[in-house]
Point group: C2
């Protein structure tokens, strides 16, 4: 199949325009543009309702909200919702991020059909992705693939992530212990929190807790 009706969701007008202008080089009859998630979802719903659904959504991941209370605030949410109401639509996540966690989530959980990193050759990658999707395949750009294959030394359990997040929020060890107890999360003794923080410092090669928080945040793990 070839795509004849495509929607671009990208808040930055210059980038949106760049994609559209490049897409016009391909054989796509109808390219629509949207600068917010909510608007994109609306367009998809309407097209579906009108019996002329979009076949492909190309979506950025991060959006600055320009309305008071946007329902959808990220490409992840948009793609999730779109897949829910129109499961057969193809989706391409098109982002500057090449963080393993983000890519993993989009491919494995959200079931996006392609992931491409904006970069030097974004358009070439976009073309490849479209071709792959037309053949019912999925596509992940080389940069993202490399990121996925790079063994993630710092994979955190949900429990560890919570400890780090709470620490970053100003919780003391005792506070975290109390919090875990109130939520029935185990282990929850003050002593165990201390132990886990110590292990985390070891793993991250951090000599102090402030440094641990700094490193975790640098790696965008919290």
């Amino acid at each position: 199949m070839t795509f004849t009706k495509v929607l671009i969701a990208e808040d930055i007008d210059i980038s949106n325009e760049g994609i559209a202008s490049k897409l016009s080089a391909l054989d796509i009859a109808q390219v629509e543009q949207s600068q917010s998630c909510d608007n994109a979802l609306l367009k998809i719903k309407r097209a579906l309702h009108d019996g002329e659904p979009f076949q492909l959504l190309i979506s950025d991941l991060s959006f600055v909200s320009h309305t008071p209370e946007p329902k959808l605030t990220s490409g992840q949410e948009l793609i999730t919702e779109v897949k829910r109401i129109q499961p057969n639509i193809k989706t391409i996540a098109f982002s500057v991020w090449n963080k393993q966690q983000i890519i993993k989530e989009l491919i494995e959980d959200i079931k996006a059909d392609a992931y491409i990193c904006k970069g030097l050759n974004g358009f070439k990658e976009l073309t490849k992705a479209i071709n792959a999707l037309a053949k019912n395949e999925t596509y992940i750009c080389p940069i993202a693939t490399a990121s996925l294959q790079r063994k993630n030394v710092f994979e955190l359990t949900e429990y560890e992530k919570q400890i780090l997040q709470l620490t970053a929020k100003g919780f003391k060890q005792q506070d975290i212990s109390d919090y875990f107890k109130s939520k029935n999360i185990t282990p929850n003794s003050r002593r165990s929190i201390e132990d886990h923080l110590s292990k985390l410092r070891d793993n991250f090669n951090a000599s102090t807790t402030p440094q641990l928080i700094y490193l975790a945040q640098s790696l965008e793990l919290i």
Copy 2:
């Protein structure tokens, strides 16, 4: 005057293309594109040497390096260098960032002629900037202006920034004291470091030092 020869420095091809495609709507005869700082500088040097200098440089700020050892790694460096070798060239910084510190540095220190935030209306702003520059004026987009006017509660002295950075690097209070003494930075008693950290926690409304580091990093102050 009107601009007839413009250079775009922007690593992401889609964005670069977006700018170029929009510029073609204006009356600019010659638009050249560059995806790296080094390449952009080269083009400017050559044009200058050939007696047909660029009149305007539109540059992004952040570049991913795709060569082993790029000489210039950021738009800030590029603009600085370009202004040095061709002082009469006009420069527009075109970035997603609207951090006060970045904007301030570009306008006040680097003497960029315009600062625009990529966003919903990037092209409109770009047009305004070009018009202003043509009249020998400077231009700062509304978002950036707002950012500049927003009183920066968290303006840090160099001294404070160093304390935060060293803390983030795993230095204990005593370590920082020793370090400052070795560098002849005063005040440098352990007690003063403690005092400043305490003041910083107050200012940032942080209850612990890890939280302070988290907040400072979130605000991109360290």
